[in-house]
Amino acid sequence: MSAVAAYWHRLTIPARILLVGVPVVLVVGAAVTVGLALLAEPLVDFLGANMGLVRFVVAALLIIVVATVPTAFVVIYLELKVIARMNLRVGPDRVGPYGSLMSVVHGLKVLSKEDFTPSGVDVPVFTLAPVAVFLTTVMTLLVVPFAPGLYGQDFNIGLLYLFAVGGLNVVGLMMAGWASYNKYALLGTLRAAAQSISYEIPLTLSVVGVIILAGTMSLNSIVTQQAGSFLDWNAWRQPLGLLIFFIAAIAEANRTPLDMTEADQELVAGFATEYSGMRFGFFFFAEYVNVFVVSALIVVLFFGGWNAPFDWPWPVTLSLDPGALGIGLVFLIGLAPVVGTIVLGLPFWLLSSRISALQALVIGFLLFNLVAVAAVLAWAFISFDWAVGLAWMIGKTFVFVFVFVWMRGTLPRVRVDQLMGFAWKWLLPAALLNIFATAAAVVVIGK
């Protein structure tokens, strides 16, 4: 045994990787080949049979890989700059144009820090907690409809799924705080538990009015029912519900003024006090993805989702049939870049004597790419409704993200007992009142 260990320790990293990887690759490759040869037919049938499953898995992977981390970067950059402006500061302006890469740099730096577990922690729980927090935050994105046809999965119990998965978030916080072997983390996590349990109830009850009006829990159909002008949005039919949902959502996202869990001035960093490096990065991202999710939910439930605020004439159906060009299409594809490059680069070469022909060509090529991309996007925006809806959805969502950041820059933090008292004494009765009023209205006036 010791000989093997010694031999193993003498190896370099690539040698270890090869030593482990090659047999695995051989075995797995052979197994996969045989399996495909045998199971290809029924597998394809199975996947075709339940397309929803495929769609779910693909959407999950896409969201985790594509959507969350860039969204977090954008939100972090927004927070850095907006709060800096509110503080009469400039904010990051060295990294990237207007410091736009600062959040990326922060994130990558956090991921590249040393990541160690302090002595005395409960190691498995300590390791799993960030994953739990991050995944629960990410999974809530699956049912959020971003545009017509652009959603992970259209459950008929989408809202229930959302609250259930979102409620799991606090489990991750509990794990983190309890395993950290740190009293600040313990206080922070107990605060998180109490706060989350108290605010889940008004959060859920405030939506019941919307469910009564919509008659369904599928977020997609809730959005489609708010189509038309902005007068059809639920915000006008459920003002009280909107208010309650907004306040409870702040608490759910752990944002100022209700950020009890990581109250910097009281508990050093709350549940994340003992976390460093990549694990802290998970919490870091999860917080901001959470902000985005909550804002998207507010938009979906009360502000018409991807519906335009007024009667939107598009998508217009452009009769663009590339196939009609026939062989001309080939010439177009072949000639358009050349011609565009020359045409766009020519003025520079003619007007400025300091620009050589080669530079002019480079400039022209870049400009042509910009023009081409812009043209494609414009075409998509005009002729595809999902592009329109996505644009509106993202726009509305970031309005609310800005509101969250705004409140963080403005308001101090409430005390924990005031927080609880507010949840139980005001939000809960108000939510119940909202439900009764809505039900009565539905009964009296009818839908």
């Binding site: 709060i83 509110m86 503080n87 009469l88 500061r89 002595s119 005395g120 409960d122 190691v123 498995p124 072997y181 009293k183 600040y184 206080l187 605060r191 100022t256 003024p257 109250a263 910097d264 001035q265 009281e266 508990l267 050093v268 963080r408 820059g409 403005t410 308001l411 101090p412 933090r413 409430v414 005390r415 924990v416 007992d417 005031q418």
Partner: protein, 404 residues
């Protein structure tokens, strides 16, 4: 994977084989009955160690909280992490150098830490200070008081969770420090007051900066405090927390704004005038509630009064020299002198004993923050952890002055 054994930090026989750093320091053997009663933990109580490096303890203060849930049962402040031995150093320096040792004590209002030793030495030397020097001292001192109170407002809001007011108040403070830098030539630790006067007369840069700052200072104060005074969250958090009545305040030897916030109009500028303050017209704002909100609002009122004093100083500024005639090396006659002034935090006092040599035989520096820090043990028990930050910020201790 096996989890390591987790020793309890509250175990009195727990010894950790690392250097005796503050945080995991094993509980020391009780030396006094107070310590015995503090470290005897009942069921459901735990010790929480704030500091010595905590964002809410201003500087290197360490507070051992005894918590029951989130409620503070008892606490034991541990200070001395910034003890620089100033008094011993002053006894080994001559009288001019001693001032240079004392002014980093209150690094937020350092002029006041030069003022009281200077007055004490002048009493030892029987030296008459020119009137212009006195007016310049009052002018610079009140400017420094405004800077200190501006920082207080910012830190108070910061410890309650608001991040913007601290930056706004730092703007004001930076402007004041810039103009005092133009006057004194030093940044933050202006070593400006000298025995028998001040170091250098008013210059044009200072006067021009002061002029255009005074033209909008009032509006700046209003704008800066409007964000907090009308803020329901802050008012609800600060009202009724840490109430200090005036009998207790006298028993605790409290002075300065914390005493006036309890309804006692005791201001040494009136109660024991020490400079040209008898010739100046200003009010002594008091508040009767004695809670955190009162202490905060009182500072805001004092800023306005200081603006009045600065205005009068600029109008009544006499001509003449700014330094008395003194030798470079002063040897006062043997004797004892005590001088106390009203600083932004309370009573700064210096007690100097001269034995006829050029070095003070004994120099005692009394700082209000040191006394006010005892109030933590009086006001915090029964409150939540979040309130301890509010109380600590409202008492406005400066650890440099506490530890000296």
């Amino acid at each position: 994977m096996t989890t390591p054994t987790r020793p309890s930090l509250d175990d009195p026989n727990l010894t950790i084989p690392v250097d005796r750093a503050g945080i995991f320091e094993p509980i020391p053997p009780a030396r006094t009955e107070r310590q015995q009663e503090f470290y005897a933990l009942r069921d459901g109580e735990m010790l929480l160690n704030l500091g010595p490096q905590h964002p809410a303890t201003h500087g290197v203060l360490r507070i051992v909280l005894k918590l029951n849930g989130e409620q503070v049962v008892d606490l034991d402040p541990v200070i001395g992490y910034l003890h620089r031995g100033v008094e011993k150093l002053c006894e080994n320096a001559d009288y001019h150098q001693a001032i240079c040792y004392t002014d980093p004590l209150e690094y937020i209002a350092s002029l006041f830490c030069e003022w009281s030793p200077v007055i004490a030495f002048e009493k030892l030397l029987d030296v008459q200070v020119p009137r212009r020097a006195e007016y310049i001292r009052v002018l610079a001192g009140e400017l420094n008081r405004i800077a200190s109170h501006a920082l207080y407002i910012g830190f108070f809001a910061l410890d309650l969770g608001g991040i913007t007011p601290i930056l706004w108040s730092f703007l004001e403070r930076d402007e004041i420090v810039e103009m005092l830098t133009a006057l004194t030539g030093a940044q933050l630790l202006f070593n400006y007051f000298r025995i028998g006067g001040v170091n250098g007369d008013l210059n044009h840069d200072f006067m021009s900066r002061l002029g255009d700052w005074m033209s909008r200072a009032g509006r700046q104060v209003e704008a800066g405090t409007a964000l907090l005074n009308e803020n329901e969250i802050l008012v609800r958090r600060a009202r009724g927390i840490g109430i200090l009545d005036h009998e207790t305040a006298f028993r605790m030897a409290v002075s300065g704004p914390n005493l006036r916030a309890s309804g006692v109009p005791l201001d040494l500028r009136r109660a024991h005038p020490y400079s040209v303050y008898p010739e100046l017209d200003f009010d002594i704002p008091t508040r009767s509630e004695g809670d955190c909100l009162a202490r905060y609002l009182l500072r805001v009122d004092e800023i306005k009064q200081s603006l009045r004093i600065i205005d009068q100083c600029l109008h009544q500024m006499p001509d003449g020299p700014v330094m008395a005639r003194l030798p470079r090396l002063v040897r006062p006659r043997p004797g004892r002198a005590y001088a106390a002034i009203e600083g932004p935090r309370g009573l700064y006092a210096t007690y100097a004993i001269s034995d006829g040599t050029d070095q003070p035989f004994r120099m005692r520096i009394h700082d209000p923050s040191f006394v006010h820090l005892q109030l933590l043990g009086l006001l915090m028990p029964g409150n939540l952890v979040a309130d301890t930050m509010a109380i600590n910020a409202s008492l406005d201790p400066v650890m440099g002055g506490v530890d000296r």
